[in-house]
Symmetry: C2
Subunit: 538 residues, 2 copies
């Protein structure tokens, strides 16, 4: 396929980024490696002053069943990095621990470039891969590349709080784009952009969309290909840069199915994939649609190798890559030498195939965990497929109330089984909660927020901690957050970390707090409440 | 000693820094560790998904003679970090590679706090130690903590280019403070501040001084205690924050003495110190004078353990530390897990004593290297102690010309033997160079710069690379650099990296270029030049 080069997007750079100049020291670096050159120009500490001699690491064989692997297991691979390079082992500590150009290891970058080309498939020819310190660092660098103080930034209606905490102190404002279980709604995005001049006369139209396309944090939604295409076209039409923050890309999962349709290891029978076919199971990336180079993709090893690496990479056009590099030179420099040396050694041992097998392995781990949580909700509550007019797949009732004719009365919350990531997002139907009606009748200004906090605090008393939905509402102005929809509240549940047993205890505790707040089950009336107390004492 | 708390310096924070708010996720972290709490609130990847089982590392015993240590040497210490913690070994990979609060490892921070208290000795009680990614990251964070676009920043007359490249694109300007071999001149600093309103009416007076007190880059100067005291007082008087960027603090050296006064290992006989007495040999830090908390000290492991760690720490007041932490949360997060785990394991094995012994070891390594370079200048050129009116210690003449009566005519450059760091700074006396006089007579706008570049390019042809002095001149306005002193040019020579042999070849090549440019030695006249050519052919 004959791909075109990226188009010129210089006009998107902010003033800071345009003003950065290459370090004059670059000239020195240029001459330093000339044959026969003796350099007294650098400022490199002598590697004899790095007090390390060699490192060995036992890594999982990519075939390892990670749920059971232990240090005693034979499914381990030994890798090691010596202090100095050898012909057959160029990776070495005296280089890894030395200053380097801020692009970092050439061979690691080359490995990733090839992997990106094969798996993520950018649709233009001159894309570049640039190492960074993980997606938090990367997003900060993107904001400082493109945004001026006071800019408006297009964000998902529920978004990651720390991602906002970068631009909010700069006086930027979020423009929330509504979401459903398949991510942001293209028509809503288009409406915001087409109406911009009318709604915000004289204000610069947003030119940056921040989106987490896979297993979105907090809603767990994953954008299907068709929506990605529509969103990309809209961004071309309105000249918007897309920042594709995609830490969960390789944690895409098959649809949730009941236990009976899974194999003995808990994976949907129809969905077990070979390592080779994994790539075809993944929704194509925004960069794979990006024939202009207007997507800045953020990838990270945080979810796949461990966040402590502080290592990831940008995929973007050469202009942005060069400006990001200029910023890195004077802020973070190249990512940590240990992380680079270890990941490089590790990927050299695993190769593309091992890495894909590992991702498939991870997909299975997190699918099993997602299913634990969904199964628990099915068993602790009554769950019914949603009726018309409700966007979520499942409506949840207190146990024993799912067959009520008057479903609206007992409809407690709704949810979707996520197809990626680590989060399940529940939407509380507060209109069925009498505490909410009382608050509302009393003229309380923010009854949704008040009740959310009350329920959250009661859960903490019951020793179950969830992330309140309101933490994720966009900041739309100085000290101003988007007003949440009337009559609903949200909580985010993570299925990535706790054991199956703790998850069960947690969901039961959550159910107890909900039932008490909704006044159902044991809490239906005074007598039942009393019965419950007595039962608890026994 | 009863130390006071730091004073309130809130008014120094810039708008960005004042606007930062703690992440709402902090509330979640607060409850997460309550006993019995089940948390589905986090977003932590499961440690079984970190494909590492254990790490082993061979580190130098701090007693090791680093010049000769090899992987076969017995002077190595084995350290290891397992995947999961044990009672006697809390440091572990599943924590190191996990997300953490942005303060990083508590035990590593505690070790460093105690070390700082014992060795660097802040003069106020509520100082804090906060990890960062090395001094480039740290300085970037300081600029973004304190500086508004357009601010003036007090800098040394010759300063590190990358340090300027952070604030220059923000539209900030440097205010150069003259230096001599003992660092910046307090009276010059006071003059700039006292005359500010008069010279820059209506412009905010600089409130940040950036200073490299030890082995300054590029000049190699080290501030003596008395000057530090004067500078600190001036900063109190004019309410200036001092950013003490001190990567070479532990690379302080004894005075340069001739080879005959050194012991068999090359250390000045009078100056070999025990590990315990090393601390007393070091010039006390700015923080040790800082009874108000107005110094932000930047320390790094780059020069002592390897730059690739990307690990260092701030010492500063709690207000600044908290704001720096808020910035880290949304930009870099905590330093890399491998670096933290390794340095922690390493320092736990070495203890304070081992670390001080290692620093003493490094002091010896770099002293020997400093002496190599100085000895070479003494042997390749004629060197005489400077006469009155020349600030530098040594005046250098072409070989064979040092005893001329008319010293000015052949005075080629002058220098000081540095007492710290990695750099030797030479000051070319262009007035004795006929090319300079010709350039000047021709009306050339910047004859110093033109000749510096010409000499630099000629050195590159001779395969010797130095860092041109002009790279280090302060940026004093948009696209405007400080004008250099008339009739001089500078080059920076590093003695940290090359072998003794390459250093010798390099200094000889430099001498050849100088002699040719100055028209002395073999280049004195046509005949000698010719003789030289013939000699080269033979």
């Amino acid at each position: 396929m004959n791909l075109q080069n990226s188009i010129n997007l210089y006009h998107h750079l902010n003033g800071l980024s345009r003003s950065r100049v290459p370090s004059p020291l670059k000239d020195i670096v240029k001459y330093m490696n000339e044959p026969g050159m003796i350099s007294l120009a650098g400022g490199l500490p002598h590697p004899s002053a790095f007090p390390y001699s060699a490192m060995q690491l036992q890594i999982y064989s990519p075939e390892a069943d990670v749920a059971t692997v232990s240090s005693k297991s034979s499914a381990l691979l030994d890798i090691s990095v010596g202090k100095y390079p050898s012909l057959h082992h160029p990776n070495n500590l005296s280089t890894a621990l030395q200053y380097s150009v801020s692009t970092g290891s050439k061979s690691l970058s080359a490995f990733l470039y090839n992997f990106v080309q094969r798996v993520l498939r950018p649709a233009y020819s001159d894309f570049e891969v640039l190492l960074h310190f993980g997606n938090t660092d990367a997003w900060n660098k993107v904001v400082n590349l493109l945004c001026e103080p006071g800019d408006y930034i297009l964000v998902e209606e529920y978004t990651y709080p720390s991602a906002q905490a970068v631009w909010a102190p700069m006086g930027c404002c979020g423009v929330p784009i509504p979401l459903d279980k398949d991510g942001i709604l293209p028509e809503a995005l288009e409406r915001v952009l087409s109406d911009w001049e009318q709604v915000h006369p004289g204000v610069r139209r947003p030119h940056l969309l921040y989106v987490v396309p896979t297993g979105q944090n907090p809603t767990g939604s994953t954008l299907p290909l068709e929506r990605k295409k529509e969103i990309y076209s809209i961004c071309v039409k309105y000249d918007v840069i897309i920042c594709e923050d995609d830490p969960y890309y390789f944690l895409q999962m098959p649809d949730y199915v009941p236990p009976s349709e899974r194999d003995s290891e808990g994976i949907a029978k129809s969905e077990r994939v070979t390592d080779d076919s994994l790539v075809d199971k993944l929704v194509p990336t925004f960069v794979s649609l990006d024939y202009q180079g207007r997507v800045i993709r953020l990838d990270t090893f945080s979810k796949t190798m461990g966040p402590g690496h502080r290592l990831g990479y940008f995929v973007c056009n050469p202009l942005f890559s060069e400006r990001l590099l200029r910023a890195s030179e004077v802020t973070t420099q190249a990512p940590g030498g240990w992380s680079q040396a270890i990941i490089e050694e590790h990927l050299t041992a695993w190769k593309h195939e091992g890495l894909l097998r590992w991702f498939n392995n991870l997909r299975n781990i997190y699918t099993i965990r997602r299913d634990w949580l969904c199964d628990l909700i099915f068993s602790v509550f009554d769950v019914r497929p949603s009726s018309d007019g409700i966007a979520d797949d499942y409506i949840v009732f207190p146990k024993g109330y799912g067959s009520d004719q008057d479903t609206g009365k007992r409809h407690m919350f709704s949810f979707n089984a996520p197809k990626g990531g680590m989060f399940l997002w529940i939407k509380l139907n507060l209109t069925s909660n009498s505490n909410y009606r009382t608050l509302k009748a009393s003229g309380e200004g923010d009854p949704e927020g008040t009740l959310e906090t009350k329920i959250w605090m009661e859960m903490i008393q019951e020793k179950i901690l969830l992330a309140p939905g309101s933490y994720h509402t966009p900041i739309i102005g100085p000290n101003e957050r988007m007003k949440q929809e009337e009559g609903v509240a949200f909580f985010r549940l993570s299925f990535s970390f706790e054991t199956r047993e703790d998850m069960e205890t947690g969901v039961k505790r959550m159910a107890k707090v909900f039932e008490r707040s909704w006044g159902v089950g044991a809490y239906e009336d005074g007598q039942k409440s009393c019965a419950c107390l007595i039962r608890n004492r026994l």
